[in-house]
Symmetry: D3
Subunit: 249 residues, 6 copies
């Protein structure tokens, strides 16, 4: 039976571009303040991330694996065009991110360098796996962001089979709905409800570009957390003055 919950908002490519300037840490904290407690995916870390690339952003395409059942995996492999994980991969479009739920299964790898290479070709932006990847050395040569829980030498048929594409899934303790916006950097990744992206970009810009810059400057001059983090009334006046003098809106 089809799931009930779904995203009704979408996000433009331009807004995705702006989101790239926000850190996972800022987005994660901002979402908590907006009432979304579960956005940061715990334990899903960047195992491969291109040098010089600051972050990866895209729309979630989801894929779900369950432990293989011997009769059904045979049924699945006999009718290859229908294999959900191949469907998911080939369905990837520009600015998609593939998010994979294996049930935190640590006993086989579900993504290797071939899949990664294909995803990059199709315009995908990252792969996120609540589980293991395989052949990490060759994945690294593809120069593409891959986040996962660990590494295992085995491949899918060792113990898993795919059963669903674009369903709501669990990843790192977080629900990911198709169309959620994924933001990943070296601190991990976060699933953002599409309707929140604009607000996050706005808050993060204020936070990252101005406050943080000014506060760090003040800290280097010896300012105390008590007065400057967060700024008290007096410090805030000082900050507004500084903004004016330095050409910030």
């Amino acid at each position: 039976m089809a799931y009930i919950v779904k995203n009704v908002h979408t996000v433009s490519d331009e807004l995705l571009e702006e989101l790239k300037l926000v850190s996972v840490s800022t987005a994660s904290h901002t979402l908590v303040e907006m009432g979304y407690r579960n956005a940061y995916m715990q334990g899903i870390m960047p195992l491969a991330f291109p040098e010089g690339q600051q972050s990866a952003v895209g729309r979630a395409v989801t894929l779900r694996f369950v432990p293989l059942r011997e009769d059904l995996v045979k049924q699945q492999y006999d009718t290859l065009p229908e294999s959900p994980h191949r469907e998911a991969l080939e369905s990837i479009m520009k600015n998609d991110v593939l998010v994979i739920d294996t049930g935190s299964h640590m006993e086989t790898g579900v993504v290797g360098d071939i899949f990664t290479r294909r995803l990059r070709y199709l315009g995908g932006q990252a792969i996120i796996v609540d589980g293991c990847v395989r052949d990490l050395q060759r994945i690294k040569q593809v120069d593409f962001p891959v986040l996962a829980r660990g590494v295992h030498g085995g491949a899918i048929p060792r113990s898993l089979m795919s059963v669903g594409v674009n369903e709501p899934i669990r990843c790192g303790g977080v629900t990911v709905i198709p169309g959620d916006i994924i933001l990943a950097d070296r601190d991990g990744c976060v699933a953002i409800p599409p309707q929140c992206v604009e607000e996050i970009v706005k808050i993060a810009r204020a936070h990252d570009e101005l406050e943080e810059r000014w506060i760090k400057m003040k800290l280097d001059e010896g300012a105390s957390l008590h007065t400057h983090y967060p700024p008290n009334a007096e410090a805030r006046l000082e900050f507004e003055q500084w903004k004016k003098e330095n050409g910030y809106a």
Copy 2:
């Protein structure tokens, strides 16, 4: 997107009745020998089981929860008739077993005595939860088989929301497909592919009613495992003789 793998066999109520005489342990081991390694659900134990009832058997109806997302659970609760977990419960028919995947979530309970009572009324045979139940004391008063990983005082809205009914799910490290046959007793539970039930009943009958009875008798007379478990050629002759003398086919 709908899942691919599915059951194509069904099992009659009469065969379900016969399966009740088989132990989870025998069914689990027989399935391994038939090539199904993952049938026993690890860590899902009977928290409530009616005294005097030996086992519970039924057809799997599946239900899947994911961590709640604040905007979507609101969307779900505003349109209550569509809530998947209520749909699942009300869809229960005679000889069904409700199997619930929460991602082994230990931080809230998903089944209490009200749901248990309704399921019993509708002819359900058991509830299996990869996660927690709540209000176990009142569940016990319903006198109905409930197997789960643990207990938590919280209710669904604390941290989960339901997203799918009758999809393939994970439960205790085992894939459960709608229509799988669930067998539960005081040793836990097992998901049986429908096409295997007849064979299991046949093997188990031979195993449980004859071999085991005879071997235990021989053990009590001092027989060694080396000769009698499994029986060597000589012991097997002796066993065939005993069967004839005691009126077994």
Copy 3:
């Protein structure tokens, strides 16, 4: 340095008495609805609970252990009157509950039958341990509610030392502040901020004595969750009518 956060409310013995009629499950769920997500202590289960006693209620006295440091435990044992765990035990007054934080340490027991016996004598109502007890068989003979994570044969000096009494502590993932009200039954236990007790008793009475009784009656007559749990407008009218006819306020 002394902690900052503290309880400013207290609860009368009469209110404690009324709280005994509330189940842990109802209190836990009610607290979530009141905005307290972390009240139920995950994994702390009743290992000993007197037959026929429905629940235990009291004011939290807290005790904290850390891994023993060889020089300091010696310093502590040389000046026995100051040993925090003995201070804590001897400070117990009527309607207190001793709550112990060991850091979920599973490698030694911190409470045995002697401590349990003394606590009962002093009017304590229960012992809650995020860690292990020892000599559970003899604890059971004391006939007193003891909830813990597990059992270990070792005693405190094997690997722990006590360092603080009546500080805020962690127990089962929940913060317990001295003076919090502890409610324990066969489903586990919950820490209730004192100012919430009155409201919980009121809500629980409405919930447990009326709604639940009536809904169960309706379920036994075949009512659907869709219409009766929670009751829709029509069912609610029916319920109000039933209340009037059966003498409930």
Copy 4:
């Protein structure tokens, strides 16, 4: 290559009989005080224990399993007389205890009711498993002490193979050497170096029969832990007096 460490002491059946009066908790704590930190097996609990039997005592026979290797298990099963786990079982003599190391493997059962029945016939006193048993319901009917970490429906060939008998093994985080004395009761079990048994029996007798009896009496009269547990100089005089008056040595 044979192991190096070994026991050089043995214990008489009479001493084993006396050890039955000591609790696991007292033995475990006494061993810590004698300098043996790791004697209590953490997490290995009695899953079956005959009603009315207080404890089980015997000499350790050890058995070690490793994950099955497909070629070698075949080699092993083709030459059945050599299968180590059957060798171990058939080697059991009066007052032996079988202790099994599976590497805390929770994915199959290694002992069922047939093995338990044979062990009882041969005069064994208990089975201790760092791993799972299967068919617990039938094991319970054998009325024999079996301690383990959990239950699994699968049998040995699902994922394990036996490789060694009477080697030093790990069980519950404790090293067990063949010939160690195992003491088990409802609080779990402890491995005792043979040379320590006599001392433990002596200390435990003093502790259990006298001190504990007297202190409990005093606690029921309201004595404080500060003066009576452990007894201070004055209380000790009182205790000596009481001993004389009540006919203890």
Copy 5:
């Protein structure tokens, strides 16, 4: 009692050399297809691996630790020449790999830079530890492949003692038999039954040198997984043609 299962095949140094060109990932997957499910050691990762070295290969020498028992470790240390871990280390020959089973013990380190240095001198190829190493910084200076589960500052006498050399052991959930062939690279390591090495080298060569090279080229040209991975009939013809044109056998 000596173990039963054993390797009967051996592998030449030349074949070991060829195995160095195979990746752990390819070997692991190939073994699953050959019927060996448990070859990849889960969670045992390269903590030190010489820059520029692609992989390490050698014959397993095994070593097993158990938790220290105070009387026996003393007995062992009084007779140092017999200490199994020193025996194991000094027995290392050209193209051996030392594989150590500590029971996944994370509370002390068993290998430091001195042992690593000696092993390298003797011609060893790698050290694999299911447990912790210590002094990782100095190990890195030895420039030698060391794979383990983690790091701990403590040394062996803190909590372990060695008991057996060249027994079957568990490492990363995998059975390792003396004489098994170990292959390690940056993705972890795999234990290969000796009789399988030749086949793996052959399969891997076909897989790694030809298919993978060609498929990656095709993927970079936009080929779909549906047609090219694995290649369908048409793609396979194209591949055979390409092989001929590019001088592959």
Copy 6:
């Protein structure tokens, strides 16, 4: 109630300077030999460590978090000057190390780059967290030693509140008392009782500067562990001779 156990020794800045030459591994092992089993913090690894810096040393200032309680965190945030974690940070003096106990909470970060920057300004030497940091990328830019269990995008208010400064705490399974000396390097960190520092420096100097240097030289010449590690009588003479010839005391 204030804790009982406390440090009575202090350590001079000069001695701290000398301690910087000792490795965590050597200090940890030496402490075990001096009778302190629990000094190395298991699982707390350097996530940021300035290139070229060998180790960090300082006096422990402790800080303890518990799971947030909604009413009390509000009470705390309404009176910001009293917030314990800000008090702790602003109290840092030259050669202090901030050690944070979150109960191994992995569901939010407690230290980011702002706190790290302030601590460095105040003369702090390192931050040690039994829990998570956030914004690790920006922490790395501060070029300051930060050791923790992991990374999480969330900030303190997501799920924690601070309750105590300079109490005894748990960190990585180790008790840390205010004033303990913390030594951290790329192998992790260790808490040293102040009275032990002088002895450790002395032992480590002998160990690191002479023995280790000489033994490594001998190992590179092919010396066996049997004769040279530890050195037997003959090797020790050789070593004393070498010391004299090379100008060591």
